[in-house]
């Protein structure tokens, strides 16, 4: 279907966002000697091996002990280090919520919690590993910045940018190969939404892998004469409320799209902003109070309604409610 569409953004290559993290991590390690790495027995999965090889004295394998990893990371900031912790999103959040809450967020420590294999697109491992609640948990913590980039290039840029941000960051990325449709030389500004496509009938606020689905949905809507604005919300917290409201003032309705539960996700944050400052019809693309299951990423996104076709339906519904 994509081939025949007139897409505003295109790609020639697919790559996993976790590789964007791994390559960005090596680059930021070269730029900033205070950057250190910790990993809980997932160096290969997180693509942290190149950094470990080049900077063995700044990299710590902590074994399958995530709580300890978070504590060690918090302690290392006290000596001026900028620790990047690496494990799956599930074990980066729910498993260690209390450690993050007390030793990192409440203590305002400069730890970068780097979380791979987030969401349904982890695929075949199934629901134990497919966390769909992590954004909610992290965004509820005061002091925490929450970032969910959309492709390899944006993940790499975000990984480098967070080293210069003072304070805890949750950086979420994923496992599957995914279109690389944003520029390699992009400037990553934490907290600044990126309006990728101008439109006037509806705004699609998308984050993570679903930004690509939003780009596809925009082309599908355009074929039907509907003008959709696509905004890439890579930083879920702090939310760029100014960009959200500016777009809504123009389009008058919204769709959120994310690989996460409705509860606690990006849609939740957008809805809060709308209800407080600019009440407007809004539809949600996400997982509706359910766990995931085994399957291929494409099958899972289809089954749970997290693809372009469903964004199109939601956009029409939102427009009809205006």
């Amino acid at each position: 279907m994509e081939k025949t569409l007139d897409l505003k953004f295109t790609y020639t290559e697919k790559k996993d966002t976790r590789s964007g993290f791994g390559d960005g991590f090596l680059e930021v390690g070269r730029k900033n000697p205070n950057v250190v790495g910790l990993c809980a027995d997932l160096i290969g999965s997180l693509k942290m091996g190149a950094f470990q090889k080049e900077f063995p004295d700044r990299f710590f394998q902590v074994g399958i002990a995530e709580a300890n990893m978070m504590g060690i990371a918090a302690g290392m900031t006290i000596g001026g280090k900028i620790p990047y912790t690496g494990t799956f999103a599930n074990f980066s959040t729910g498993r260690v919520y209390d450690q993050i809450r007390q030793s990192i967020a409440y203590s305002d420590k400069n730890v970068k919690i780097c979380a791979s294999h987030a969401g349904l697109t982890l695929g075949e491992d199934g629901a134990t590993h497919q966390i769909l609640e992590d954004v909610g948990m992290m965004k509820m913590l005061p002091h925490m910045t929450v970032i969910n980039p959309c492709d390899y290039n944006q993940t790499k840029a975000a990984t480098i940018a967070i080293a210069d941000h003072q304070g805890p960051v949750y950086l979420r990325f994923g496992r599957p190969n995914w279109p690389i449709f944003t520029p390699a030389d992009q400037k990553f500004e934490i907290g600044k939404a990126w309006k990728m496509i101008d439109g006037k009938d509806v705004t699609i606020f998308a984050t993570g892998h679903l930004v690509w689905e939003a780009v596809v949905a925009e082309a599908m809507l355009r074929e039907e004469g509907i003008s959709a604005e696509v905004i890439n919300i890579h930083t879920i917290k702090p939310l760029d409320t100014e960009a959200v409201l500016e777009s809504l003032a123009k389009t008058g309705c919204a769709v959120s799209a994310e690989e996460h539960q409705y509860n606690g996700g990006l849609g939740d944050s957008i809805a809060q902003t709308l209800s407080r400052f600019h009440p407007a019809p809004m539809e949600f693309i996400g997982v509706d109070d359910s766990f995931g299951e085994s399957g291929t990423p494409t099958q899972l996104l289809e089954k749970y309604g997290l693809n372009a076709a469903n964004i199109v339906k939601a956009a029409k519904k939102a427009i009809a409610r205006k």
């Binding site: 002990a65 000596g79 007390q102």
Partner: protein, 283 residues
């Protein structure tokens, strides 16, 4: 700076104990039991053992660092920090009250000098201390990191994750102390969740373990800390099993879990203060 004599240190302990009791009485909440039990340890650390800078710097480069894992014994820490010059002793009167920097459990949020991480939810301090010790190694800073844990806290799983990690990463600039008072909120540790042989457990995890048999005797506490320090630098961390009496220094509080988290009433306070000389002047 000339080191204080044992007698001078004991005099400080008497005042710190008065502070602890007056603080918890003043707000009718807090944890006097283990605060009283650990008084000699804190005074020995801050007035004798540690090379520390009370012009507080969060990153602590070029000085020894202390972390309190069992954050509920904040009264003794706050008193010793104030008495050693981190902030004014008058501020002790604000303990646990609204708009105070002296939170019920230690917090960095309020920017209280001397506190480098929040604690209270148990089991996290050893991991933090390992991280700080590793950062010192990366920085080429040869100072020591100290951490105190409770004995009940040994029931937390994260402690044992950290116990495994420190010898693995050769964190030999770290002295961890367990306040072994054998009491926890619900009763004796033996009844609540038996710790059995902590010395054997920590040794099996690769630590050098020393025992301070009388953790309420200043000379013994200092000897233990000096022994611990002498064992640093050989590839292994040090664990100090500090045997103390909960509630030490007040006859009706000593040796029971009942004063773990209960403040004395007016009469009890008067009786307790009658047993402790005011050596440095009450706040």
């Amino acid at each position: 700076m000339e080191k204080l004599s044992t007698e001078q240190l004991q005099n400080i302990c008497s005042q710190v104990r008065r502070d602890i009791l007056r603080m918890v009485h003043g707000v009718n909440s807090g944890h006097p039991g283990a605060s009283l039990g650990c008084t000699e340890f804190f005074v020995a650390l801050y007035f004798h053992q540690m090379a520390h800078n009370n012009a507080f710097q969060m990153d602590g480069v070029g000085e020894d660092l202390f972390f309190l894992s069992n954050g509920h014994i904040s009264p003794v820490w706050y008193s010793v920090l104030a008495r050693s010059g981190y902030f004014s002793t008058e501020e002790l009167a604000t303990f646990r009250k609204i708009n105070s920097r002296l939170q019920g459990h230690p917090a960095t949020h309020e920017k209280l000098p001397g506190i480098r991480i929040a604690s209270g939810s148990l089991g996290q301090g050893l991991s933090v201390a390992i991280g700080a010790a590793l950062a010192k190694k990366i920085n080429g800073d040869d100072h020591t990191v100290y951490v105190l844990m409770g004995d009940g806290e040994q029931q937390e799983g994260q402690i044992w994750e950290a116990a495994m990690a420190a010898p693995h990463h050769k964190v030999d600039n770290l002295i961890a102390t367990i306040d072994l008072n054998r009491q926890q909120i619900d009763g004796p540790t033996e009844k609540i969740m038996n710790l059995l042989d902590l010395k054997a457990k920590w040794e099996a995890f690769g630590w050098q373990v020393i025992e301070t048999k009388d953790g309420n005797d200043m000379a013994a506490v200092i000897a233990g800390l000096e022994k611990a320090k002498s064992l640093l630098g050989n590839g292994k961390p040090v664990l100090n099993l500090l045997h103390t009496e909960m509630g030490y220094g007040v006859d009706f509080m000593v040796g029971t879990h009942k004063w773990h988290g209960v403040a004395p009433n007016d009469e009890q306070l008067a009786s307790a203060l009658g047993q402790l000389e005011e050596t440095l002047g009450d706040y």
